[in-house]
Amino acid sequence: MLTNEDLAALLARVALADRAAFEQVYRATCAHLLGVAFRILNNRERAEEVLQEAFMNVWHSAGGFNASVAGPMTWLINIVRNKAIDALRSGKTGRASTFALDDEALAVAADEAQQPQALLDQSLTKLKITGCMGELGASQRQALALAYYRGMAHAEIAEALGAPLGTAKAWVRRGLDKLKACLELAGVRQDPPT
């Protein structure tokens, strides 16, 4: 497993058109990143397309990676999430909730542990902020989970949770505020990595 430092060093070499470093970055991160894209798109083929597009970006813009803004894994996740969200909203792929599912997506849908709410709970446990985030209402946590894992915009969250748009926006906002406060309370590093 590569450390963030290893990954940052490899990205610096990718910026110099080092193909071997590029392959190392890909091999080390592709499975995690495909998982992130798949949660949003709920379709393996689309997710793999997004992953490929994302790594095209990585090759061409590794020089723009700035470790003082965000860590290397964060940078990669962000490229993949943005591509997946763009693909989702451009209508090239079915909405997660419309369930035009392949077998793998069906398996995921059947697996309650992988639903957004469960993913959020597991992540919060890993971050050791379950108790603090537990002070949020269930709807607020759910809104945050749908936005992050499913790439839903406010209107879609409102529809999914059967709430007015303004309410959905407020839930997301409170979810984010709470996340920030809980991370700070837990002493999770908030400064950009050095």
Partner: protein, 246 residues
């Protein structure tokens, strides 16, 4: 849109990072992001906060076709994306075998040329047009073809490297630039140069401190970027004089 209040900037940054900022507003914010360091930092901070939420997402191994597609799109259909001659190693071995002959001669010739040009530049041009005080190196390949132009301002801490022709860097290797002191003491690493295009190399100190006693620059192929104290592991594929441009 260019002068946002900090609270509004943070609100947009977190909505962008989360993904809930949608439609034209998302595009507008992306444009702002490219131009505004404060926006970039605000988004980066939110991305770091949110990145923890990805930790529980189950990994999914992509099919090998994804990697093969990347190789095809990046390295085969678009030769300009990276230097990719069909047989890089053979080219390299051919180069290494003749470099001792051609390299030295070519280096001397180009050095003489550069030194003859230099007084003209300084003496004849009006002062305001004079080039800044710099260290300049012109590295040639075994056949004497100018290959790397390296320059750094005398009191600067960055070196600009321009490839005048592509250099083949075997997969898994880097092209390491070395400085060779004129007193014959050990070469020390300067930085890594790309196979084509241009790059900026951050220097460990000012050029004046690093290169004052350096007479030559050279490039070798290394398995990884060299650290202070390392020595070149093999022959130099490029070399040339390092001169003071003032």
């Amino acid at each position: 849109m260019n002068t946002l209040l900090p609270e509004r900037l943070d609100r947009l940054a977190r909505e962008y990072a989360l993904g809930t900022l949608a439609g034209p507003a998302r595009r507008r914010f992306e444009r702002l992001l490219r131009q505004t360091p404060a926006a970039m930092l605000a988004v980066g901070a939110w991305q770091e906060r949110l990145a923890g939420l990805a930790s529980a997402v189950p990994a999914m191994q992509p099919g090998e076709s994804v990697w093969r597609g990347l190789e095809r799109r990046l390295f085969i259909s678009s030769p300009r994306a990276a230097p990719a001659p069909a047989r890089p190693l053979q080219w390299l071995w051919g180069l290494l075998s003749v470099r001792a002959l051609g390299g030295a001669l070519a280096g001397v010739f180009l050095c003489a040329l550069l030194l003859r040009l230099q007084p003209g530049l300084i003496g004849m041009e009006p002062q305001r047009d004079a080039l800044p005080e710099s260290y300049v190196g012109l590295l040639t390949d075994a056949e004497g073809k100018p290959t790397v132009l390296a320059s750094s301002k005398r009191h600067g801490k960055r070196m600009t490297v321009k490839l005048l022709q592509p250099v083949v860097i075997p997969a898994g290797s880097v092209a390491q630039l070395w400085a060779l002191p004129k007193d014959g003491s050990a070469a020390f690493p300067v930085g890594v140069v790309p196979g084509s295009g241009s790059a900026t190399v951050d220097l460990a100190d000012t050029s004046e401190k690093l290169f004052f006693n350096v007479s030559r620059l050279a490039v070798s192929i290394e398995a990884a970027p060299a650290k202070t104290g390392d020595a070149p592991s093999g022959a130099f594929i490029l070399s040339g004089h390092c001169v003071k441009l003032w």
